[in-house]
Symmetry: C2
Subunit: 341 residues, 2 copies
DNA sequence: TTGAAAGCGCTAACAA
DNA sequence: TTGTTAGCGCTTTCAA
């Protein structure tokens, strides 16, 4: 009788890292048991558990989450998409997202669209490929194609920094139109009559500016002067904007970002105008440093970190099949009055 | 003869997404062929390729990179660790990292240590679990344990924002000691004699401050006054620091961050001092907005985006087995002279 | 409480 | 150029 040929071996390269199987062998248990020690320790007897944990510790075993994610269809990965990171108002949100997710055992994948729709589409495809357990969209203008893809992928999505009437899925944000009205009221209540807006070219800023304008008109005041600084949210743009506005005579300026507002204040001071006596200035975002300026800048404060933490919580809850409360959260805003108004 | 029992089916839950196998079936090819169309299209005949691509397009198939990473031991994931994100000097680096990686087909995983060693260790463990193709450490004080783990995991590491003599692996940074000397020379060349340093409590800032002090001493000038603002890099801290320094009489201040420097300028102006006539101020980081201030702030410019782009390039090259040039890159720095000195 | 077997969706190795 | 087969390292299902 001819000897049975053993099946041919097909060695593959591997990372060389310790695997669950090796841990199991060393602890003299089945691989599943090691998996249970890691994921559902309460279902393993204390003796076995300790034995396995000891081996894990000694070998420095770190479970491969790629494999785990593949097997369990839960990647414990959440993606966040931001337009841009630098000097952005979204930073506290991203920060809170990473932190909250990490504490829940999740990791954040970050993507930047750079305000480009083409890039956003590519990014979303790349992200879907990673099968994240959730996606946080922060202030993104999403194309129809991206919407469709996200919906089709069935990945939980939370849109943030806005309260659109037709969200893809969950929502954590605040009302931009309300801000325009509140700021108008704030300035008018302080005796300002000739109001102006300096705004960057972005959809949410525009909505704030719009209600600001209409509300001022409704109050019977002169029309609001508007300067659009385009994509540039820089301090320098703010300076340039004020230069334009001074020709028409204004006594208060609402800026779509704090940086622009600091620029307006700087330009005003450089021209010998007193802030707030001759000119009131209010920003948006309430960056940390604006409270230390001279005069300190009045600004619209938004709870960016709350947005991030809530978004993370909603996504994790969804990933774990827990039902979370409302899927639409309004975190509100507040006007922090300081020296500049 | 009894009928052979079919092997029992073990249905598992799946995401329901289109799989490579389904695409293969629809295109009437083997699964590998679809894989080849995606990864090595040049090895597939044009006809078959087009047929497969058509099916991919029609079905909206997005390859599962978790599975791909597991099979190929290449995750196309790169991790970055930063101390913190908010108002940080590392932002351009993170921005360049995401962008460069994305263009190369990689995704960035972000982690924040919050300047905590315990968190850093946990973070590194979580990251290793994802089997990234590389890790970028930006300005991290890494514990010995973390170093060991990283080394053991065999994942390419690039340390940035510094040029330590004993890097874990690759290095992209610049010399902090040289900056201290250069700034001292800059101020002394402009006739300043009573120099001071305002610094946050961070290792790299300290090294800049140290050479600044010793170099000033070597030039035979009075000893440098030093204010340590601790962990707070805020504008307000800068204001407080100047208040302290004025008691000892200074005519130039080197700050470890631009925000601190703006605080010093603000406080000086609030006290009626003229900048730069009575007091010269120089910052570090060269944030975008400091060029628009009045007076514009002199600052040490560092190529944070170059650091990020180079780090990404090195890691991708390593992941793809390409040998990259030097594994130690000095991106240098420059002093941008503006109105404040 | 523990284990055996069968996949998750993909790619490496080998073969034709 | 295309296909077959056997994993990558884990978790799920089913069984004891």
């Amino acid at each position: 009788m001819p000897p049975i040929d053993p099946p041919p071996r097909r060695p593959r390269k591997s990372t060389g890292a310790v695997t669950l199987r090796q841990v199991a062998a060393a602890a003299e248990v089945a691989p599943v048991t090691v998996s249970r020690v890691l994921n559902t320790p309460e279902r393993v007897s204390p003796e076995v558990r300790d034995r396995v944990l000891a081996v894990i510790h000694d070998t420095g075993y770190v479970p491969n989450r790629l494999a785990g994610g593949l097997a369990s269809t839960r990647s414990r990965l959440v993606a966040a998409i931001v337009p841009t990171l630098s000097m952005s108002v979204f930073l506290p949100t991203v920060q809170a997202l990473t932190d909250t997710l990490f504490d829940g055992g999740y990791q954040l994948m970050l993507g930047q669209t750079g305000y480009s729709d083409a890039r956003e589409d590519a990014l979303i495809e790349a992200i879907i490929g990673r099968r994240p357990d959730g996606i946080a969209l922060t202030g993104v203008v999403h194309s129809t194609q991206s919407r469709t893809r996200l919906l089709a992928a069935g990945i939980p999505v939370v849109e943030t920094w806005d309260l659109t009437p037709d969200p893809i899925d969950m929502l954590v944000g605040f009302s931009h139109p309300d801000i325009g009205i509140a700021v108008a009221n704030h300035l008018v209540a302080r005796g300002r009559r000739r109001l102006a807006v300096v705004t960057a070219n972005d959809a949410r800023a525009w909505r704030r500016a719009q209600t600001f304008q209409t509300h001022v008109a409704a109050l019977g005041l002169p029309p609001v002067a508007l300067v659009d600084v385009g994509a540039s949210r820089s301090l320098a743009s703010g300076r340039g904007a004020l230069a334009q506005l001074l020709q028409s005579g204004v006594d208060a300026v609402f800026c779509s970002s704090d940086l622009l507002a600091v620029g307006v204040v700087t330009e005003a001071q450089a021209r010998g105008l007193r802030v707030p006596d001759d000119l009131a200035v209010i920003g948006f975002g309430d960056f940390d440093f604006v409270s230390g300026l001279e005069p300190a800048l009045t600004s619209v404060h938004v709870n960016g970190d709350t947005i991030g933490a809530e978004a993370a919580r909603q996504l994790m809850a969804r990933a774990e099949g827990r039902t979370v409360g409302p899927s639409r959260i309004d975190v509100g805003f507040s006007i922090i009055e300081r020296g500049s108004t």
